[in-house]
């Protein structure tokens, strides 16, 4: 059974005609060609496919688009403002927090949700927020560094 859905993704209204059991991950990647969202297990175990729904991190491999109508979906493609990268993206690039880069979109979005709620988290708070996102390359150290740097920069930008 297919359904015609209207999804609001990265600030744009998008219409899709998709089987109702298709996951948000599949619809984003296959129907909307937003391939920035990756998948590592499609079982809700690795955090790779994380997107934001109304600002909360959600595993898109477990979400059904039919439940996402009328909500604000944000993927990695929606993080930058025009060509201006998000401070998290900037810090991840500068500090080598993305090695193979495959887990990066999910981690960036999880971190964005954290910073929106807690602008200057402690390192332990960052660890807890990212505990559901696996990365096999970095050993997490540079990721933690980058989240902290982005937080400091955002704080500086808000203060000035």
């Amino acid at each position: 059974m297919k359904a015609l859905l209207t999804l609001r993704v990265n600030g744009e209204e998008r219409e899709v005609l998709v089987p109702v059991h298709k996951t948000l991950l599949e619809v984003l990647r296959e129907d909307l060609e937003l391939t920035g969202t990756k998948h590592g297990c499609e079982l809700g175990e690795c955090g790779t496919c994380t997107v934001l729904i109304d600002g909360d991190p959600v595993l898109s491999c477990l979400a059904l688009p039919i439940e996402c109508q009328g909500r604000e979906i944000k993927t990695v493609e929606g993080m930058a403002r025009g060509s201006q990268l998000h401070p998290l993206q900037q810090a991840f690039a500068e500090l080598g927090a993305a090695q193979c880069g495959y887990c990066t979109p999910g981690i960036l979005l999880t971190a964005e949700a954290l910073l929106d709620r807690n602008p200057v988290p402690t390192r332990d708070e960052v660890r807890h927020a990212l505990a559901g996102n696996l990365c096999r390359c970095t050993g997490y150290t540079k990721i933690l560094d980058a989240v902290e740097l982005a937080a400091l920069r955002r704080k500086g930008a808000h203060a000035s």
Partner: protein, 802 residues
């Protein structure tokens, strides 16, 4: 070039592909969407060992949306394997399956869901055979044969090498220790599941995009497997979302994609499920080890005898090399005057093991470094000082004929001892807290290719554009380690331009000269030296042309900040782009090759090709742990690692490799296990296969030691694998320091610690580890003279150097 004159080398610059990665722009293989593309699925065996009596695909073919179904009968009947000596695989098994997960049929359909439903409609009749699930099992049942080849029933490879008289060495030792260790298998677990897209175009030519670490080897093997002219096959490496050695073989899904594309006239994509990735495997071998070493009372090693038994799984893969690697690098850290190695790899009905980060060397390094720790305690020596006093000599040969160049291990030990407060802590922390130390070494690139040939291991073509852009065409693949960035930095350094002015193109067998692949920590050194050679050739022409224009001698020119100018008269010069125009006007198209092959140093004995490398990296590691004496949980609290990197071309990227290696080693020593029950993987999911998260990864302090090796590009050695090795024994040694028990079996899971503590309470030997060894007779050893202490010959002399 003096260090202070570098403008790019030594800078912590972002990777050239970092921006695309953080923006989600990087196109991995599964991100490719081509017009009319079909989706493929494999049908895999549910049996660990069975004969295939019948396959009926009729019902699958009749399903609407199915474009084609193939079995092994649709492919040329030829077996293949990554190593020429182990041609034992079929993309789709025809007569027999040897593991759960062996592919027997493949489907191309309109979407993944239809393809999956079609595989369920394929009828396969199996006749189950007795599965052999362990080394003991396989050796005990010679009447059951997994393969018909090898060095004995179910023995893939048995080797025996002797370099000098070890018995005499033991006779003159003050202490001789025999210890037994076991290292459980584990898997790479890359975040990206393998994916490939094949397109057999109307002109009869085939293109394959794949998440592979070795496009060249895939290219070569596809020609054989598909019985096609190699010239009509093009392999393009997609950015790899994590490899660690797991994407180094040709795989069934790649081959099925090619064949199905031919049959359907459509591009065909395959993406493996996470469960399939666990079965495809090729990861860390489970290895049982026996090590006998003689020590003098001051801790010097008089000789070593090492035996390893590898549980190889169902196919050869890189296993012959893995077997030799379990015996190759014991000799390059400390002085080992005489050495004997015996190793055997046994087939079992499990997914094949192969190369994972450190390939075959973390297991023996664990055994050796734990044994040294035990010996130090017994001799009353400080384990750090004992190692420090017995380091191998730089620029000499080892007993097993490996040539060692620079060795920064002494400084590495000093630095971690200093930074960690080792002297104040070792043996002095309260019960439940402990500190451990271990060292290691690793190759900077395998000294021999997997097939013998006289061609370069790395090739580069560098093309300068009139715009001032320089394009690098090289067959190397960036798997996240940043090798493309390293090539850009090296070109920028030599030509005096910005790394942003350099574009590094992905490996494409139509366009890029061969690089053997991203394995054995070879790319920075080998492709790096090749790209420096090409850049020097380009610079020479540019200097000639600019010198003529400026009417100076070319020797007086330098290039920096995108300008070519007279060294002592900087105002006299031209922009780099103008310099390219001058050079192209004079010489024509500016495209220059660079080639690299390692020095030919393979020992003159069978097996001597495994172990040689242009140079070796060294690491020392100290870890502090908390051990919960109630639950047995081991928690590393702080880690110090010092790594001899030769020269850090980009310290930020080197740190990233060191941190990633330490993290991966922590997973191996504490929790990761690739284990089976009745032929089926016990935990083929990312939830149940435990790997460390942000919460289990402690603060890691990385110290870089520079030794400026004459073999490396600007003196650089490897960083991607070596630092994984010492953390494993360092944790085991720290656990002993904390609670006085020896866990000689990896992973050090809480149950083992609790068991050892129970043994201690009962007054028994507080050790958990293997208790017995397999009944196995190794072949008579080849007796080869020890080359220990001989001066290194032919430093930096190598093919294609001029």
């Amino acid at each position: 070039m003096k260090k202070e004159h570098f403008s790019v080398v030594g800078q912590s610059l972002p990777k050239i592909d970092a921006w695309a990665k953080v923006a989600g722009e990087t196109k991995y293989a599964d991100d490719m969407i081509l017009p009319r593309m079909a989706h493929g699925r494999l049908l895999r065996s549910p049996h660990p060992h069975a004969l295939i009596k019948r396959i009926d695909t009729t019902r699958a073919e009749a399903l609407p949306g199915v474009y084609a179904v193939i079995t092994g009968h649709d492919l040329p009947r030829v077996k293949f394997g990554i190593l020429p000596v182990s041609q034992d695989e079929e993309a789709l098994c025809v007569e027999k399956v040897r593991m759960v997960g062996d592919a027997v049929a493949a489907v191309a359909a309109v979407d993944e869901e239809t393809a999956e439903r079609a595989t369920e409609l394929i009828e396969v009749e199996y006749e189950p055979l007795r599965p052999l699930m362990s080394i003991e099992d396989s050796l005990a049942h010679p009447e059951v044969r997994i393969h018909e080849y090898g060095d004995g029933p179910n023995v893939h490879k048995a080797v025996s090498l002797q370099f000098g008289d070890v018995e005499a060495a033991f006779a003159r030792a003050d202490l001789v220790r025999e210890d037994v260790f076991f290292f459980e298998g584990n898997t790479h677990l890359p975040m990206e599941q393998h994916a490939a897209v094949a397109h057999w175009s109307a002109d009869g030519k085939l293109t394959l995009w794949s998440s592979t670490q070795t496009p060249h080897y895939v290219h070569r093997l596809l020609a054989k497997i598909l019985d096609l002219p190699q010239a009509h096959i093009r392999v393009i490496a997609a950015p790899v979302g994590g490899g660690f050695g797991g994407k180094l073989d040709p795989f069934a899904h790649e081959i099925a994609a090619c064949k199905l594309s031919q049959l359907t006239g459509r591009p065909v994509k395959f993406t493996l499920t996470r469960e399939e990735v666990f079965y495809v495997h090729r990861g860390r071998h489970p290895v049982l080890m026996w090590i006998k070493t003689g020590f003098t009372k001051d801790g010097a090693i008089t000789g070593m005898h090492f035996r390893s038994w590898l549980d190889g799984g169902a196919y050869g893969s890189y296993g012959v090399a893995s077997t030799f690697y379990t015996g190759a690098l014991q000799t390059v850290t400390y002085k080992v005057p005489v050495y004997k190695f015996e190793g055997a790899r046994v087939f079992t009905n499990k997914p094949p093991c192969g190369p994972k980060r450190g390939h075959g060397t973390p297991q023996p390094r664990f055994a050796m470094e734990c044994q040294i720790d035990k010996a130090a305690r017994q001799l009353g020596l400080d384990p750090a000082e004992m190692r420090r006093q017995n380091l191998a000599e730089p620029f000499t040969k080892t007993a097993n004929h490996l040539t060692v160049t620079t060795i920064g291990l002494g400084e590495c030990i000093d630095r971690v001892v200093e930074a960690s407060g080792w002297r104040e802590k070792f043996g002095r922390l309260p019960r439940g807290k402990g500190i451990g130390l271990a060292c290691s070494a690793y190759l900077t690139g395998a000294g021999t290719a997997i097939y013998w040939n006289d061609m370069p291991h790395s090739g580069v073509v560098l093309r300068a554009d009139r715009s001032g852009l320089v394009a690098v065409l090289c067959g190397a693949t960036d798997i996240g380690q940043g090798s493309d960035s390293i090539l850009a930095y090296l070109v920028a350094e030599v030509l005096g331009i910005d790394p942003k002015d350099v574009r590094v193109h992905p490996a494409d067998t139509d366009l890029t000269p061969v690089d053997l692949g991203s394995y054995s920590s070879r790319v920075t050194l080998m492709a790096g030296n090749a790209v420096i050679q090409a850049a020097n050739r380009l610079r020479e022409r540019i200097f000639e042309a600019v010198a003529k224009k400026l009417e100076v001698e070319p020797e007086r020119l330098v290039t920096r900040d995108r300008r070519v100018f007279v060294d002592d008269d900087p105002d006299r010069g031209v922009s780099f782009a103008q310099a390219v125009v001058l050079a192209e006007s004079r010489f024509g198209v500016l495209a220059f090759p660079g080639s690299y092959a390692p020095p030919r140093r393979a020992g003159k004995y069978k097996g001597g090709g495994v172990g040689p490398s242009p140079c070796y990296s060294y690491s020392a590691c100290v870890v502090e742990v908390d051990v919960d004496v109630e639950t047995g949980e081991v928690k590393p609290t702080e880690i110090w690692v010092a790594h001899d990197i030769g020269r850090a071309l980009n310290p930020l990227l080197v740190e990233g490799q060191v941190e990633g290696s330490i993290y991966m080693g922590l997973g191996e020593v504490l929790m990761e296990e690739q284990v089976f029950r009745k032929g089926v993987h016990k935990i083929p999911s990312m939830l149940e296969y435990k790997s460390p998260t942000t919460l289990e990864t402690p603060e890691i302090h990385t110290i870089l030691v520079e030794t400026d090796d004459p073999e490396g590009p600007f003196g650089a050695k490897e960083a991607g694998q070596g630092p994984l090795l010492p953390i494993i024994p360092a944790v085991a040694n720290a656990v002993h320091d904390a609670v006085g028990v020896r866990i000689d079996k990896i992973p050090i899971s809480p149950d083992k610690v609790v068991k050892a503590l129970d043994l201690a309470r009962q007054g028994k030997a507080p050790r958990v580890g293997p208790e017995r060894l397999p009944l196995f007779t190794f072949p008579e050893p080849r007796a080869i003279e020890s080359a220990f202490g001989e001066p290194a010959a032919d430093i930096a002399e190598r093919p294609f150097a001029s």
